[in-house]
Amino acid sequence: MSTPAENEASIKQESGPSGTVQDKPKKIVVRTGDGEVFELKEEVAMEMETIKTFFMEDNISYETVMPLTNVDSWELVKVIEYCSKYVELKNKENFHKELKAFQDEFVKSMSPKTLLSLSNVANYLEIKYFLDFICQAIADHIKSKDVEYVRELFGVENDFTEEEYEMAKTEAPWAHENLDKDLY
């Protein structure tokens, strides 16, 4: 789906004589924060609220290249991968089963940090089902982890003093034990 860009010229849409319908699906063009230009199928692009609003609200022509400054190209690749698959499976009979299988594979290939980056992208692009999926995947991953791990993953600094930390811990000491024996 991606087209390496040589220049910044916008790619013209093919328009036929009035009255005839083109076979070619419409494309939307975006540019990521690291300068790459991507061509998206319209139906996939419209899954992302941010893009949808950009074009729909002010009736901006598809000839405009939308800047996605907060998104890196590798992230967009992953987003497109998921959304395309979702759109493809959407109306099928075994939707849930096949989606679950795809989700499992999708998550396997990524590290927790990657997932976290993607969650921010999903948030920025406003793709609800993708955001829900990624957040759930991260939640499942961290639920049996300890405090240190979570701090590291999220890049959160420990601003408790020793005493404060101990006090907070004693509020629920049972929660810090037996981390791998949960039934959940």
């Binding site: 609003t53 950009f54 969650s119 961290i142 300890d146 701090r151 601003d159 930390y165 929660a175 959940y184």
Partner: protein, 649 residues
Amino acid sequence: MREVHKDIEDVVEQILSTLPPKSLMRFKCVSKRWYALITDPRFVAKHFSISKQNNRCTPCVLLKRLLHEDNNGDQTQKVFSLLKFRNNVDIDIDNDGGDDEHSFVSGVEDIDIPPCLSLKTQGSSLHIVGHCNGIVCLVAALSGEVILWNPAIHDFKLLPLQPYLPDSPEIVGSPLPGWPKDVPISIHRDYMDNLGFGFDPRSNDYKVVNIGFPGVEHPADGYNINLPPKTAIYTLSSNSWREMKTFSLETQSTILLPDRFQVYFKGMCYWLGRELHKEILLFDAMTDEFIRNIIILFDMADEVFHDMLLPDSLYDPNVLCFNMRLLVWNESVALFGMRNGNSFSGSSFGIWVMDDFDGPKSRWTKHISFDLIEKPLAFLKSDEILMADTKDTKGRIFSYNLSTKRLKYLPIESMQDDSATVVYDNYSIVSILGGNELKNTDRYTNAGSSLLEHSSFPSSIIDNEWHSYSVWAILPDDVCLKVRKVIQGLRSEFGGPEIEPHITVVGSIRMTHAEVLNKFRSLQSCVPSGYKAIVNRLVIRSFYYQCVSLLIDSSFQNEHESSKLWRATGFCGSCFGFQSGVRPHLSLLYGNLTEEERTRAQEKVSILDESITRMSFPITKLALYKIDYKDKSLKSWEKIAEYNLRYHN
């Protein structure tokens, strides 16, 4: 271009909002910001409502068991066990090994009763009252101590003892000459059933309702007086009890007695209870004081009691109904009952659902009849119900699938007290201790209303097709004038509504408009003649509706003049389906007065009009009134019909 940038923190919040309670309690220690987020009531509510929506949350069954320490069976230990069920999301989607019909028990966890409890409590049996939003309410049978407990986050709170209600029934006087004092001869209630627990969605507060024993008085004139129970309420926010002065547990002629707490649902607490006559002649006490079985609801926000009738078929005198239970089913309240219709059909279970909360019609819809004769505990899923095998010596329970009608026993034993079981979602991080240890300036603002229990309960549930009516004896105009003056005089000092002077002949009639008019018309042929009303004396009662009233002579002995009144009252009552007549009062004041105020009221009446206690006058008119017991002003009480009685001096 529209800029919609959610804060990066929103992503963190979303990730956290699907985590199980144990993880969240741990992650409070990640940083001060995380601590503030996780303990923020807004987040707690959101977390809980999300857990209810998606199928990540599995229902848990909490029940009591009696475990044997050793094989002799001598040493026993009471424990609470949490049964966790696996939900279908975790099971292989092909369901190769799983059983579609029945939930699969994935674990049993025995929980220690929190050691905070006093010695008194530890010895006695803990009984489950109810649950709400993941918080379970327990009561200690002997000491009456109440505990709020969230097993998911090991959070518990021992409530202060309530100081208002008596520990045992208050009985004044002795019912019969020779009968031992202080021994109740009528009302029996189980001490553990008088509590209700739920959530007030308006004030975002958890409340416990304590319904005391109803009082009984024997004023030595052959009558038995049933007083409405006193009630007290505890709120978590104030961590204290307060007495509720309520008039909503009585009508003009009856009291509403909540017997057994059933369930909390959407802002209302439900009890099964009875409606009893207020004053009844003693020799009839055993059978006649009972009028009907009803459901009593308590609005947690308004703190008002309402009542509701059971499905029509359960009032059929030819049908014996027992083992009734209210449970939550499919986002509605359902009634379970066993019917013993006739000798052919034997006993069968029926489920009626309270549907269409708004609509006045068809309050109950019968959904299912099935032939199982066991005790329902709770619903696991919409078509799977947990039941107790009452005949099983090992004390087992099973899950029953309503569609396939097959049952499967749960792999645990030694169930004790099968009624003390709840099925609830063990996923709530609602804390009951309140307040945080760590003061944190960097807190999220508590914006907006709570997401917990947003639906406000429409008051129109009570306004169903069956209304409340009364038949009143109307006073002659000159008497009316005298009485009005006294009523007004009392009102000016003690407050209260403006009462239309009358003697209640039949009270608490519940039927449709058409039916009641019909019966009232037939009354004309039953009771065509008037009779004399003789005032016996002024009485002060612990009732709201007969706070200060004139007791009218009513005797069953034929030689007395007042026997005509007694007979007429009896006929009127039986015309509307009542076994006994109402004791006639002419109320002068409605209210809840203190002892001291009552004495003053008594004096005031003699100041206003001494002769009022010696009146006698003819009753020449009967009227039918539509009564709304929730309208304290009485302005909505309206006369529907009336007719004149033939009277010869």
